[in-house]
Symmetry: C2
Subunit: 335 residues, 2 copies
Amino acid sequence: MHQLRKPYLLYLGDAHQPTDAKTACGLRDWCRGDVIGEWSLPTATVSAGVPRLSPAEAAAAGAGSLVIGIASVGGKLPNAWLPDLEAAIACGLDVVSGMHTRLTSFPSLVRAAEGRGVHLRDVRHSDTVFPAGTGRKRTGMRVATVGTDCALGKKYTALALTNALKARGANATFRATGQTGIMIAGEGIAIDAVVADFIAGAAETLSPDNAPDHWDVIEGQGSLFHPAYAGVTLGLLHGSQPDAFVLCHDPSRTTIEYYPDFPLPTLSDAIAQYQTAARITNRNAYCVGVSINSSTLSDEAWSEYAERTSGQLGIPVCDPMRGGVDAIAQSLLTA
Amino acid sequence: MHQLRKPYLLYLGDAHQPTDAKTACGLRDWCRGDVIGEWSLPTATVSAGVPRLSPAEAAAAGAGSLVIGIASVGGKLPNAWLPDLEAAIACGLDVVSGMHTRLTSFPSLVRAAEGRGVHLRDVRHSDTVFPAGTGRKRTGMRVATVGTDCALGKKYTALALTNALKARGANATFRATGQTGIMIAGEGIAIDAVVADFIAGAAETLSPDNAPDHWDVIEGQGSLFHPAYAGVTLGLLHGSQPDAFVLCHDPSRTTIEYYPDFPLPTLSDAIAQYQTAARITNRNAYCVGVSINSSTLSDEAWSEYAERTSGQLGIPVCDPMRGGVDAIAQSLLTA
């Protein structure tokens, strides 16, 4: 289980494309209070719009970690970034990366971190040894986000639902299972990096026993309908033991992204199959709502889609970016 | 992907309980032609019933590997075995182990193997980096074994079905996904040891394109109904893209082994759920037969059970230990 040291100095390297700064902007949007500033190479042209601070200034202001906030081409860490990372280490900051290339694969960073007594955190990877799943019922309540596909809003929905539950006075915790979510939460497990035998066990570890009225909101991964990643999805679902789940969907997709031969299921088929799967470890699991990425729909089309779909399925249909997910939070709390 | 060097010298350590020698006896039964002999400490009282040869004698007779053929308490490798393993290495044999403790965690073995130019093969582990699943349809035919639970005959059924297909003149290959299967086949992937994101990709690697009339018979793992291991089961099923599957079951079980709160599904529910899951990557996947571990049933009870169940499901119901699985092979080849 990753545990990160906040607050963060965001690092933008030599980013030129605003879309490269997706991770930095996600951190700014979802944990602004934990972001102390940003730093980049002189050649960078992208900003997350937070105060510019050098590693030394950030350390003096109390920063705990420098977080690499951009996705580099191919997930590789350019050598040009190393001096900035070494400067951060020299100032006593941990370095956090969500890239495929491990920070620990750079001997100069390892030596510097050991010498200064700070940590290199590769949050896309998982070096923890987890137990096998036990299936034991845990105390507290759990809701998980699941999807018809990858990359259509499961993290965003879980974060929005956590906030909506808190806004209603409920006690709720976002449980991160991917690298950006882990950076936002400051802790979590990169569930797709766990050894296959221990997916469910890692998910059990992620949402331990809690107060009876506490909600863990668990970030989903992959999709039961994805030819590459469904195993991760199912193990995470089983270990999470959710009381309820939210189905995430993008109505502009008809097939799995990048897999044009694989059609998406209908919403009712997807709900039925997730419910069957979830009931292996929680016999009362049910679908509490649908979260739609409606960015391709006009206001009129979205309004018509939401009303029709909600009528057909008998549950709230929301877009966290367009009206929020309070209806789902309300349904959860009154169920 | 593990590739082992045959033939084998089986190693029995200091085994006292006949049940400890399960792996050695499995190798003797399923690949007798690849077993050149056995060796053990003077204190051992168990034999697999094959010629006793020292590592030097086995090497002289052409052995490629010493295979640890017993399960030690707790999966640990006793220090008392090290001199025999070092002797095997000195004679030029690879050493193969299916235990949790890695051979490579013993510096003396690593040094000896490097010095002699032989390999230490920890077949329970997987250090290969696999690609993500592509979902691309591969040439050749595939049949997978799946189960209502773990440890009820998926490997045994796959091996028996491979032989039954060959006996009918078909071209068939057993594809191993667990440590004992890998030792028997001499190759394979410990699928539950793969990083979660790459389960389906590893399964795709295991059964590559083949001749149109060739059958890969893929050893299943875990169960869709198991609270700890279903993720492995689903990813393996998706990557295998089976044209057909055989459901394995033990009618004496009513709940998942060691998980008494988790009821087993009915056979028809299990078939329906496996079929739904398998059709994600092979739209024509179907259940070709049921393989029963009937060891708790009398001859009369088994005969009645098989007839009734086959009538209900409309497919062959076999026990590989009691009459064999030829009816399933026949059904596969005439489908």
